[in-house]
Amino acid sequence: MGVNDLSPRLQTRLGKLEMQNPVTVASGTFGLEYDDFFDLNRLGAYVTKTITLHPKIGNPAPRLYETEAGLLNSIGLQNPGVDEFLKSQLPELREKLSIPIIVSFSGGTIEEFITTLKLLEQAQGIDAYEVNISCPNVEKEGIAFGVDALVVYELVRRLRALTAKELIIKLTPNVTDIAGVAVAAEDGGADSLALINTVQGMAIDPLTGKSRIKMGMCGYSGPAIKPIALANVFKVAKRVKLPILAMGGICTWQDAMEFFYAGAGAIAVGTYTFVNPKACMDVINGLDKHFIDNDMTLKEIIGKVYL
């Protein structure tokens, strides 16, 4: 099947972003390398790994550990920095992809976010931004930006002033009140929300007492976090009007359906791509068949969970 062979039943909209289908990839879990496994232009959109103002070499090894139904990771936002991204990575992405490109970026201070966005704004070929606010705020003793609604409001408000493009704020689940943070992002001027980032986790060798991950605490992803992600999407969808891009343990088209019913307008496959390199494609095809077989459209089921 070619790019345009999918039924319009799958078309969706994330704020200003038109998507041919609701399936994209979670930042950090995908790259052009997957071109060997399926036509990447079949995706609803492409999301880059998180870019920062300066290059980051990432965290020391071990960075990964698989535990029951999930994967712990501590990559440390390894990336070449915004200048190198614009010089070498973005042109390659734009050359190979005709679908929307969503650039994920982050920073250690509000000023770093601003400077990075100003640099990204000068480039051609970016369709949307996903703002990763799960990283430590250097000016607030390393507490993540995304846990403090006031900080999130201020950050989003200042980024909003710099761009007319789709501004997606990616929320962390490691908070007391994710809906409160979502409201702050909405008030600040976000176009849409992405949730959830990884859940904080840890694993220890029971025989030696040594942490499985060099940095100790890390991010947990995979099927184990799907119910957590689903509850968070449900909570946020009840409080804000913004469209939601949902992720957290999605492996199959049935998983995706749960998130649509909970309130998501689009979804991302993350960790499961490492298990099935063409997982995104299987989800798209599964949804397409299900919608045709049942004569339904995506738009009519978003948020229609009943109790």
């Binding site: 060997d36 070499i57 698989e66 029951e68 994967l71 990771n73 990559i75 390199p277």
Partner: protein, 251 residues
């Protein structure tokens, strides 16, 4: 590179800890290079989710062999395979051992570091090189045919570390190149000997992996660069698993 579900052609148990799986890969088997690996898992098990990286041990015609050591749940599941069972494979992955000019190569392996060097030895001998292989392990189960074998407990071959054997050997012979695969501490000791004797050394590294194709940056190895801070991380799965030992930051 491909992801396929294939049937096991053969499985042979060498001892309680090690076994060899054979799979039929058709013409693509001919393209596999020494040092490359595949990620594999049994498709019927949900846990572990991730495939385990396993080095290519040998290629005979269109059949590819993998020597596996039972270490965790994934390799335990593989050990129970029978001929005809299904295996989910992703590969071939990674770079390969470079074959250099010169006539004499030394191989140094420890434990499950043995298989990639076995396939390399075949390639080197086909190219007309002289090969001397030192292999070490904890105990008798870890020992496989080599020119010189060492065990920690003396249960097979000489008692001591394989790096002790290499140290003695290098007093009399200067090879053109050394290839090594094994535990980190062994590789570090071999690196120090190679530096002392000014011999190029290529090591095959092991690290916990997820994607296997350079996307997730999970399998990081610290290497020297000429950038400001002098170090960066490369991926074992895509940039490696074979590295020039001088490039690595040995910690």
């Amino acid at each position: 590179m491909y992801n396929k579900i294939l049937q096991i052609k053969s499985i042979e148990h060498l001892n309680d800890a090690y076994f060899v799986i054979g799979i039929e890969l058709g013409e693509s088997a001919l393209e596999i290079l020494p040092g490359q690996f595949f990620e594999m898992k049994r498709p019927e098990f949900a846990h572990p989710m991730l495939r385990k990286p396993i080095s290519v041990y040998d290629v005979q015609g269109s059949t590819v062999f993998f020597m596996v050591k039972k270490l965790g749940k994934g390799t335990q599941q593989l050990s129970h395979l029978k001929a005809g069972d299904e295996l989910d494979v992703l590969g071939p992955l990674g770079n390969c051992f470079p074959v250099k000019d010169g006539s004499m190569a030394i191989l140094v392996s420890g434990g499950i570091g043995y298989p990639p060097l076995f396939y390399l030895k075949k390639q080197l001998e086909t190219a007309g090189k002289t090969v001397y292989w030192l292999h070490g392990g904890r105990c008798n189960d870890d020992v496989f045919p080599a020119d010189e074998t060492w065990t920690d407990d003396g249960s097979c071959g000489k008692r001591g570390f394989v790096s002790d054997g290499l140290s003695a050997y290098l007093e009399n012979v200067t090879p053109d190149v050394i290839y090594a695969c094994g535990p980190q501490q062994m590789l570090k000791a071999v690196h120090q000997l190679a530096e002392k004797h000014q011999v190029p050394l290529y090591v095959s590294l092991e690290e916990y992996m997820a994607c296997g194709i350079g996307v997730c940056h999970g399998c990081a190895v610290k290497v020297k660069t000429d950038c400001e801070i002098g170090v960066t991380y490369k991926t074992v799965c895509k940039d490696g698993p074979v590295f020039d030992s001088r490039e690595i930051v040995w910690e």
